[in-house]
Symmetry: C2
Subunit: 105 residues, 2 copies
């Protein structure tokens, strides 16, 4: 099961554009104040740094990812999630658009 939509949220109209547009997201705030983002990563290999811990939930497409300090690429597809520690980083390889929800904390 993928999360197809969020209801009763506030959405920022201005997108976050990273890596020349290879990653585009919009921030959302849930009714209880929880912040998340919904976005897409286009075909590319990118490295993201985390501040807060993150859970990346795939809603469509797929990716391969490798967490800092590990040597194994793992796959994540629609319905799958992976966790990234805070103050860390991960590499992500995308060959078909990877649509995601980023959960923080």
């Amino acid at each position: 099961m993928t999360t197809e939509k969020f209801d009763a949220v506030s959405v920022a109209t201005k997108a976050n554009v990273y890596f020349d547009g290879k990653c585009v997201s919009h921030g959302i705030t849930l009714a209880d104040g929880t912040k998340k983002s919904v976005g897409v990563i286009l075909p590319a290999t990118l490295t993201f740094n985390t501040g807060a811990p993150e859970v990346m939930e795939c809603v469509a497409g797929s990716c391969e990812y490798k967490l800092a300090g590990t040597s194994e690429w793992k796959k994540s597809a629609a319905g799958g999630k992976f966790s990234v520690p805070g103050n860390s980083s991960f590499e992500i390889r995308v060959t078909e658009a990877y649509h995601y929800i980023c959960h923080f904390g």
Copy 2:
């Protein structure tokens, strides 16, 4: 004044990706059922076709646009809007990311 956010909306988690990612948007549905999208167009010159009439509202960045049947490029920047008839098209030239709200109907 730009519209920085929409409150109490439903947001689709999967993005709409057009023109190999030169345009990325997320669909939102307001409490009254009205559908809009929030998106960004990256540097490019693109042609969009409309089904329903659209109003394009710029929330950040800028663009130049030319409606079908006209020969004049006009500029739209943050806070500005332009209307596109239904079943028509417009060209858009973007040199800095153009962040927009698309209002339908």
